[in-house]
Amino acid sequence: MRSLKWFGFAVTAVLGLVWGDSARAGPTLDGVKSRGVVTCAVNTGLAGFGMPDQQGDYKGLDADTCRAIAAAVLGDAKKVKFIPTTTQQRFTVLQSGEADVLTRNTTWTVLRDTEQGFNFAPVTYYDGQGFMVAKKAGIKSAKELDGATICVQPGTTTELNLADYFRTNRMTFKPLVVEKLAELENAFFSGRCDAYTTDRSGLAATRAGKASNADDYVILPEVISKEPLAPAVRHGDDEWFDIVKWTIYAMIGAEEKGITSGSVDEALKSEDPDVKRMLGVTPGIGKALHLDEKWAYNVIKQVGNYGEVFERNVGSRTPLKLERGLNGLWNQGGLMYAMPFR
């Protein structure tokens, strides 16, 4: 049924390309405002990044990025609509205009940024591709995987990195590609594949969320690629691109300034000119982004700063237990760096 759904999406995409009348400049913001909701393409179910909870509420870092955009644009983080997409559907859904932004643990690559017609906002999670195997297989390194059957999602950078890694190391493998993540994970856990490969955060999420016993599986030490996961928007709408970009910078900037959802009201009284500009106490930035001056205040108040979002969804107190590592602030040994608010 998935495949049929995929086909529906692809047809929609083509029809979208064919019928779409989005040739005007900056139509996304107008569309979002008139609909009163930000539409985000998210994962069908990846713990910590985008997965519906028992109430059907989407939870995760990607889902919160979407909420932050809604808070910035509409002043209400709840005004979001999530479209669950597989790896194969995600780009067509964005291309066709069905989604306003793609927040679906998607790797920023040069071809996607150019030929495929997308623009990438700042990275929300610096990741790298790894392998997970069953502990009882007794494998200690990815170099021992020669001849293995490997579960991988089709149409991903993962699929290409995998082939590159095995080519470089003169090893062979057999891929098992299944589009729907849940089916692929089942195939791995049932023993159909020797290893499962995706971004290491995704491996941790799958192990935490889907394995009957998480301790039976190990993530191998090799990191075989750089996977900067970033939200994407369509080419041709700079206004919307700026909004998505600066929403993320607002979250990172707030963490740099030590402003949390709890302390943001306090911060309104701050004397720091940077904070005053960011929170709209000194007006100007909101107008420049064609948003309300309270845009960043709303983001931090309703969703939180980057550190809060990280800890809430994937941090050490979550089942994923991910370290900040590369995703720490730049002045704490990480790569997260907000551009100046002036």
């Binding site: 049924m1 998935r2 495949s3 049929l4 995929w6 692809a10 995409a13 083509v14 390309l17 064919v18 019928w19 779409g20 009348d21 989005s22 040739a23 790896t87 194969q88 780009f91 067509t92 291309q95 071809l111 996607r112 150019t114 030929e115 495929q116 017609g117 995987l145 020669d146 001849g147 293995a148 059957t149 089709p154 149409g155 991903t156 699929e159 290409l160 995998l162 082939a163 590159d164 095995f166 080519r167 493998f173 057999k174 891929p175 098992l176 590609v177 299944v178 589009e179 729907k180 089916e183 692929l184 089942n186 195939a187 049932s190 023993g191 159909r192 020797d194 369509r234 080419h235 041709g236």
Partner: protein, 392 residues
């Protein structure tokens, strides 16, 4: 009252039926062309605005992803076009095997439906109704999961026969290693087959003239089997098996039939056979009872009645609906994306995603399945014309 000045019998052109027909047709054609032009223009503008290049140049680029199983040698360094060929061959393999087995199983089911045995007929009916009335995707998942869950891992594989291993990686089978002598064996086989065709013609000719039957089947079998066997032994029986062996993770050597391939073929065969069974039943019932009664009255044996009188007539009504079942089977093989078998649709799908060339990839997908279907229809139509009732 004024009389119209036009002569009687000739009215204005817009009242003329023929010119009106022409006008309407011209309008419809113009409208279709206008819509197509509008869509085409929109697509071009939107693609350009989003900075997406249009064209089939990407087909020559390196694919960069692995495909398994592949019938021809393939590496990630090959081009997208070659990757598509690998997928297409997988589709053709599934379709060919699927069509043959679905026809055989369908014929059996159709005959069982007509069986005088109450239990057998009801079982066949139950099979047909159960399979026809559930979605094919569901059935594919069931077959796939069954194979996944029931079989052990490769290290604990069941050895069914020496060299035949069943595990959740599939069924590993030994295959004969290639030997130059096989060419002669093959040649002998071809000669034997040609000889048996000639024999069948001669036997028929003799029977028509003299009424003497000839044991064609047994003789033909001997003609097909014996010459290659003799050549094989004469060459010193150069027979070595390439045995599958557990090396590291998986079986190396021999051939491995993957669970995905097996699930797809079994699923398609079981599904399509239910429909073919009904076509066979309908075809046989369409032959009037008088035909078999007459044949029995002439003293033909029951199996001869079926083979010589009923089936040849039933086949005529069966061919057209059978063609559409074959087309369905071929097109349904695209559901393999759900269970991870890399046939054409799945590979093209991946390419679409890796390149973002949605319109081009979908055009190619459509073109390939259209060609497959039209080609298959053509073959079936040729056959249909041959078996059709010749009216004199």
């Amino acid at each position: 009252m004024s009389v119209p000045s036009r002569p009687l019998g000739r009215s204005a052109w817009w009242n003329d039926e023929r010119s009106r027909e022409l006008l309407f047709q011209a309008l419809i054609v113009a409208a279709v062309i206008a819509i197509l032009a509008y869509l085409g223009h929109n697509a071009t503008v939107n693609l350009r605005r989003q900075g997406i290049g249009f064209g089939f140049g990407f087909l020559g680029h390196e694919a960069g992803f692995e495909i398994s199983p592949a019938l021809i040698p393939y590496t990630p360094a090959d081009s997208y076009a070659y990757a598509m060929l690998v997928g297409l061959l997988n589709t053709l393999l599934v379709a060919a095997i699927g069509i043959v087995f679905a026809t055989v199983l369908g014929l059996v089911v159709g005959l069982l439906r007509l069986s005088g045995n109450w239990l057998v007929a009801r079982l066949a009916l139950g099979y047909v109704e159960l399979i026809r009335n559930t979605p094919l995707v569901l059935q594919l998942f069931v077959w796939w999961k069954l194979l996944q869950i029931s079989a052990p891992g490769p290290r604990a594989a069941w050895q069914v026969l020496p060299g035949v291993f069943v595990s959740n990686r599939g069924v590993a089978l030994p295959v004969p290693e290639y030997d130059p002598g096989f060419r002669w064996v093959l040649a002998a086989l071809v000669v034997g087959m040609l000889a048996s065709i000639a024999l069948a013609r001669w036997a028929r000719w003799r029977q028509e003239r003299t009424g003497q039957p000839f044991p064609v089947l047994a003789t033909a079998l001997a003609l097909i089997v014996l010459p290659p066997a003799i050549v094989f032994v004469a060459l010193g029986a150069p027979f070595r098996l390439d045995m599958p062996q557990l090396v590291g993770f998986n079986f190396k050597g021999g051939v491995t039939v993957t669970p995905e391939f097996a699930a797809l073929v079994v699923g398609l065969v079981v599904y399509t056979a239910a429909f073919i069974g009904e076509i066979v039943r309908g075809g046989i019932q369409a032959v009037s009872r008088g035909q078999s009664e007459a044949a029995l009255a002439l003293g033909l044996k029951r199996r001869h009645v079926l083979r010589l009188v009923v089936l040849p007539q039933a086949v005529r009504t069966m061919i057209p609906p059978l063609t559409s079942e074959y087309l369905n089977l071929t097109k349904n093989s695209t559901l393999a994306v759900a269970i991870g078998f890399a046939e054409f649709f799945s590979v093209a799908n991946t390419i679409l995603n890796q390149t973002g060339q949605a319109i081009e990839a979908m055009t190619l997908i459509a073109a390939v399945y259209l060609s497959l279907s039209l080609g298959l229809s053509l073959l079936m139509n040729v056959y249909n014309r041959r078996v059709a009732l010749v009216e004199r």
